[in-house]
Symmetry: C2
Subunit: 432 residues, 2 copies
């Protein structure tokens, strides 16, 4: 065979430990804190979160064992996933750069979110819970948790922002096929939801409201626990399985990235992809440029680095992060998973210390989707709208290499597939 075009691994190669970057950070990670007024949120965390996830959140160990049964669940979900060399795209761009992409789009539910959903459901089951609850916005996290719950044999209750619930009928059906109970939020199932519905029967809901409902539900039911899909340290750590596989695959390719790119909303796919390589930069003197691709609708990495709530309703502790302010209004875009006001504390600290670059693209998404079309047309995979941002940024970097003649190695993560997002492509690209 000529140049390798793809490296897969076998199930024996599934990482047996996650990478926890916290002890390797150049400065201590600012801890979550309570706001000056109101009840303590931090004291209450053990009542809200899965015990093992809470332990992991504050762990000082560099490597956390992935239990054997959980490695099996990763195999069940189709891991490891291939790393591809984008030879066709390289030719089309006529760039001396080498482009590689990780295929999280092989996920059963369509995105990388399963990597933490499986883990959280595994630990919830182990702790004796019978049910998990959560909120979802775009729907990717809700689908992933429905999947994780079905594998673990748990019930699953989803609170889904009504405005999205109503038009994403297919994704709702998918969650229900996976066995979840899906509620439009605000819902009549919680006190908080009922109060809002009394005022407005057709209340469109918000992520903050859906979080409140999920939390109220689980806190009132001793056999239920709430799960979170992004931002937190343990979530990013579960996602490092992406980057750890990628590292192994680069060894087989006999190459190593100069630039790593992924899209960023709360930070879980970006973190999962890059953190094992950031570890190399911090501890082994490697040099890599990391770029987070964002939308101008939510360029949180260009916000302020300060303590802010993780949710609109101010239920969470304060987290030190780059934020646009937790009350900000963000216009709708197709890459809905990028619409979040703040960035995970780990990525935020790294950004603050100068390790992470960022770029934000125009709201209309036309430029981004045109670049994604180039990827579809050469590589043949249909990316999720969010992943289109990774691709767009990677193409820009490859074109810079064409200008400069540099043979850089560029790696990007395609965090999900777009089979359920085709209307978005059609509308943004003005196809008939």
């Amino acid at each position: 065979m000529g140049d390798r075009i793809q490296v897969n691994l076998t199930t024996d190669d599934i990482p047996k430990q996650w990478y926890n970057i916290i002890p390797d950070l150049p400065e201590p990670l600012p801890p979550p804190k309570d706001p000056e007024e109101g009840e303590s949120r931090i004291k209450n965390l053990p009542n809200l979160m899965i015990g093992e996830c809470l332990n992991q959140e504050f762990s000082k160990e560099n490597w956390i064992d992935i239990p054997e049964e959980l490695v099996q669940l990763y195999a069940h979900a189709g891991r490891p996933r291939p790393l591809f060399r984008a030879t066709n795209l390289e030719k089309k761009l006529d760039t001396p750069a080498k482009l590689y992409y990780k295929s999280e789009f092989f996920s059963p539910t369509g995105s990388h979110k399963v990597n933490t959903a499986i883990a959280q459901c595994y630990y919830a089951k182990k702790q004796g819970f019978k049910r998990v609850t959560t909120e979802t916005g775009a729907g990717q996290w809700g689908t992933a948790l429905s999947y994780g719950a079905s594998l673990a044999g748990l019930e699953c209750t989803i609170y889904w922002v009504r405005a999205v619930y109503e038009w994403k009928q297919d994704r709702r059906t998918f969650m229900e096929l996976l066995g979840a109970e899906v509620n439009a939020s605000p819902s009549p199932k919680t006190d908080f939801g009922r109060k809002l519905l009394e005022k407005d029967k057709k209340h469109p809901g918000s992520l903050g409201i859906a979080i409140s409902e999920g939390l109220e539900d689980s806190s009132k039911s001793p056999d239920a626990v709430y799960c979170l899909g992004s931002v937190l340290n343990h979530v990013l750590m579960h996602q490092t399985i992406i980057g750890l596989e990628t590292k192994h695959q680069f060894e087989i390719f006999d190459d190593y990235p100069d630039i790593m790119i992924s899209c960023l909303g709360g930070g879980s796919n970006f973190g999962g992809f890059v953190l094992p390589f950031v570890g190399d930069v911090l501890t082994k003197g490697k040099k890599i440029k990391f770029i987070a691709a964002q939308s101008k609708v939510a360029p949180n990495l260009q916000g302020e680095y300060k303590y802010d709530f993780a949710d609109y309703a101010e239920i969470t502790p304060l987290l030190k992060m780059y934020t646009l302010g937790h009350k900000i209004d963000m216009a709708p875009i197709r890459g809905d998973g990028l619409r979040y006001h703040g960035c995970s504390p780990i990525i935020s600290l790294l950004r603050n210390l100068g390790y992470i670059d960022t770029i934000a693209y125009e709201r209309d998404e036309k430029y981004v989707f045109e670049k994604s079309k180039l990827f579809i047309n050469t590589e043949g995979w249909l990316p999720a709208p969010e992943s289109a941002y990774s691709i767009c940024c990677a193409i820009e970097e490859a074109l810079k290499c064409k200008e400069s003649g540099e043979k850089k190695t560029i790696a990007f993560n395609v965090s999900g597939h777009g089979f359920m997002d085709i209307p978005g492509y059609r509308e943004v690209l003005e196809m008939k």
Copy 2:
């Protein structure tokens, strides 16, 4: 780790040869023949088909080399694909049987059709063609050929039955994103299409008409060639890459199937999955029960074994096959890829000699989709409607094992994913 739950292979394990069963068949395969009246179709085949595919159609060699560049294209398309053990489903069914499924749903376009599309486009390019044409009904074949053409750097023209073209807007967009030109058929692009449109501007079209248009287009354009997605010997041979990988994976599982199941329309996914194992039965004394899962709308394997046209419009040579008659009307079902009047000559001969069993399910599909839901709920993958028939039959066989206490090994092929077919699930299962 406990029992293996998944076996993947690396790109080094991609088969380097396809398996051609023809020389191993217990009787000579009845050749295609001309009808008694009209021009010779067989003499004209070299003007219609890709040269190398025509050679392969009549090859007496057991093993046909897959060119190195084509092996690379299979790697590009994500091959090899994992073989999974359905441990969750086994537990749910409480069966002593072991269930395995092949994951053709990891296909970039959603089905196994890419396996031959890539090969045909490769040979077309090699022969100097600049463009490929074809017809499509459900849309899976059209999408696969669009993909194959984009990888090979060919143009692609699709004639799509208007009645389907109009409501499957997302799939059309997908083909266009892959760079294909997609025409509702009958179209104003061909003489044949124009004549029909003169009579009826909104003519709903048919597969036969679309075939005629594709053939007229390529025959009038010296740099274009027509491609076929099922039924023919070389198509089934390209698809044996599925069964060859599966065989290798069973060696690693240290197991071997007693029963193999897949759905069957024209026969390409069924043939691709089982033929390498049929070879074991014919030449190595192995015993396997092969079952083709069909719809009562098109139970072609329960038809007559005789010479019939492969198309409604009588353009093709006559093929000896199990057929319901090429003029039969078939009611619409969600598993649209199963709606074909005849079965591939190779599978038909094997059926006639008693090697292939068959079962056909009710038209309403409720029973089939309920079984598929059980699979989604335990294994977490969303199958195409056609693949739901494989799953349904496998579950029935597993339940028979529960009755009898037999520990049989049952393998089934999940030929595609259902991300673009969720409305079908919702409607058939009467979900809200």
